[in-house]
């Protein structure tokens, strides 16, 4: 990491690589500004838009995996112990398969006249291909699927330790099912939920396989952008600077988690 910070602050060599020993912060200013025709610096929002998109995409994935994963974790936690182990095994099975292979599986399913279309058209539910592939929907499906185990497992672990007699007590006191969920269960497994969110958000920020394969590479993610700097653009300092900004975002996310957990210890009446 120190090397990365160092590289981000040195001068760029014309044909790739760096000129060790000549320091400059031009890589960081490049993030915000560019030189226009008249040699002036003008604000350039391209890179920030790319970062924003990656953040939004990662955020959406957190939401989607939570909506699907929380009920799943709760369902599994309420089964008897033997069945629980089996269900958890099946849930984590996709993880044993390489990410690329999993994404390709979705490609085959979602492409026009792929398996999904054939099934739907064969059952006379649709008459034309759905054209899901290479759209934001396909990216969303791919990301949710890939990251689901990372949300389910921490929540499940927290639920296993959760005392479900508290649920009965809450019912008894007059809370209906929705209230019990909001006021007893979710606060009770808060640690697991936060862990799950982080485990999905942080790698999600860097994800670029799914947007490229299932999204048709129509938008750049942070990962693609950084890779390009070390490849076609041959701008190592800028690539390092981009990576450093990404690192800062990750650290911020982790700090947020620590803050949330600490606050939980003293809830004012």
């Amino acid at each position: 990491m120190l090397i990365m910070v160092f590289v981000s602050l040195v001068e760029r060599a014309p044909d790739g690589g760096v000129v060790w020993g000549r320091f400059t912060t031009v890589a960081y200013t490049q993030f915000f500004y560019e030189e226009n025709l008249l040699g002036e610096m003008s604000f350039n929002s391209d890179y920030m838009q790319i970062y924003l998109r990656s953040i939004l995409l990662a955020g959406f994935t957190v939401l989607a995996t939570f909506v699907v994963g929380f009920p799943t974790a709760m369902y599994v936690a309420m089964q008897e112990p033997g069945r629980r182990a089996l269900l958890i095994f099946f849930l984590s099975l996709p993880f044993w398969v390489n990410l690329l292979v999993r994404n390709y599986a979705w490609l085959l399913l979602l492409r026009a006249n792929g398996l999904l279309d054939q099934a739907l058209m064969g059952l006379w539910i649709t008459s034309e291909p759905l054209n899901i592939l290479y759209s934001n929907t396909a990216i969303a499906i791919g990301l949710t699927y890939s990251f689901l185990p990372l949300m389910v497992l921490p929540i499940y672990a927290a639920m296993e330790k959760f005392d479900f007699s508290l649920v009965e007590a809450a019912f008894d006191l007059g809370a209906n099912r929705v209230q019990v969920l909001m006021h007893v269960i979710i606060p009770g497994v808060k640690g697991g939920i936060i862990a799950g969110c982080l485990l999905v958000f942080i790698p999600g920020l860097g994800s670029y396989v799914t947007p490229v394969l299932l999204g048709g590479s129509k938008s750049l993610m942070i990962g693609n952008l950084i890779e390009a700097q070390f490849a076609a653009a041959r701008n190592w300092p800028f690539g390092a600077a981009l990576a450093f900004v990404l690192l800062l975002m990750v650290v911020l996310a982790a700090l947020l988690r620590a803050l949330l957990l600490r606050h939980r210890q003293r809830v004012a009446p």
């Binding site: 005392d163 007699s165 508290l166 009965e168 007590a169 809450a170 019912f171 008894d172 006191l173 007059g174 809370a175 209906n176 209230q179 006021h183 007893v184 606060p187 009770g188 939980r264 809830v267 009446p269």
Partner: protein, 357 residues
């Protein structure tokens, strides 16, 4: 059951809570956890369900709370069947055996929980909580967390939490079983006091018969899903309806007797018991109703002696073959007697209770 059916039916018509022919078995099993239970419970009553583990008392409590729907039968509250009403809609609250306080909420928030769920305003529910905590004498602990409190204190918070909702019926599931002896005795008194102060109907579950006798207005003794006897403590203790109740409550001596001359019952050794009876029966007599005396109709050999301060207990094997009896007497009157002595035993016929065989 010896209790007259007419009496029961009258009670049912007038009572505030009636358990009507409730039976329950768990899905996929044949065993009836509750077998045709009929129970009228009065308002403002301290009613206890008593029995050994597995007798169904906790299941019955859960039926009243709404956590189990019985396979048969009804539960009428003010004449309305509440069996299918979910727990959160019933005017019934429970004090759980393990307290079940919400660990992430302060004591105040725990106590106001039920009121908050029902939409009470902040000021109103804080007042209600303070009142409830005052009742259990824990006002000073409002801002603490449950983990800061001892077991007994947590128990009182659980009680306050349930009472704050002003339920028509309060259910207590062996709430004192985790406490030490002294604290238990103290809490028994507290519970009784609170019940009388608030006028709430309590249904209390325990396996400890001493506790039941000390606190209850009425007791229902259960065994294997059936009611053995329902009545005030004195009835249960002095006039047990079945051998099970006789054996379960207090200590008792059960002696076999046969009818004989004059239509009275005689022990196997021929001693006239002085009570009428036409059929073979078991006669129950409490240890404190027997006396080691200079002159008594029975005699036997002391085989056991336990001194416990005010009283001493003896085990005496009767010479007429009726068996061994437990005798409890003030220590002062029996000093000098030791194991192996031949003694004579007297009894008061008025304190005998006849049970069918």
């Amino acid at each position: 059951m010896i209790i007259a059916l007419q009496l029961y039916l009258t009670e049912i018509r007038l009572s505030f809570l009636t358990v009507q022919a409730v039976s329950h078995q768990y899905a996929g099993t044949d065993v009836k956890v509750l077998n045709n239970v009929v129970l009228p419970i009065q308002e403002n009553e301290f009613f206890t369900l008593l029995g050994p583990s597995g007798c169904g008392k906790t299941t019955l409590l859960r039926v009243l709370a709404g956590f189990e729907v019985p396979t048969q039968g009804k539960v009428l509250l003010d004449g309305q069947d509440i069996v299918r009403i979910p727990p959160w809609k019933r005017p019934v609250n429970t004090v759980f055996q393990n307290y079940a306080l919400f660990p992430h909420l302060s004591i105040l928030r725990n106590v106001t929980f039920g009121l908050k769920m029902r939409g009470m305003s902040r000021a109103a529910r804080h007042k209600a909580a303070h009142d409830a905590l005052a009742l259990v004498r824990l006002e000073a602990f409002v801002d603490r967390m449950p983990s800061d409190l001892s077991g007994g204190q947590q128990q009182r918070v659980a009680l306050a939490r349930a009472l704050a909702c002003k339920p028509r019926l309060l259910l207590l599931d062996e709430p004192l079983s985790a406490l030490d002896y002294k604290l238990r005795k103290e809490m028994q008194g507290e519970l009784k006091r609170i019940q009388q102060e608030t006028g709430t109907t309590f249904v209390f579950v325990t396996h400890d018969q001493e506790e039941a006798l000390a606190m209850s207005d009425r007791i229902a003794v259960m065994q294997q899903g059936r009611l053995e006897q329902v009545g005030p403590p004195s009835d249960i203790y002095d006039r047990p309806a079945t051998p099970f109740v006789a054996g379960f409550i207090g200590d008792s001596n059960l002696l076999p007797a046969e009818p004989g001359a004059g239509g009275r019952l005689y022990l196997s050794g021929g001693t006239d018991l002085g009570v009428p009876g036409a059929a073979e029966a078991q006669v129950m007599i409490r240890p404190e109703a027997l006396k080691i005396d200079t002159d008594g109709p029975l005699s036997g050999v002391v085989n056991d002696l336990v001194y416990s301060g005010a009283a001493t207990r003896f085990g005496v094997t009767l010479n007429d073959g009726s068996g061994t009896v437990q005798i409890q007497q003030p220590s002062a009157s029996v000093s000098g007697i030791s194991i192996g002595d031949l003694v004579s035993v007297a009894f008061d016929p008025n304190q005998l209770w006849v049970l069918d065989r």
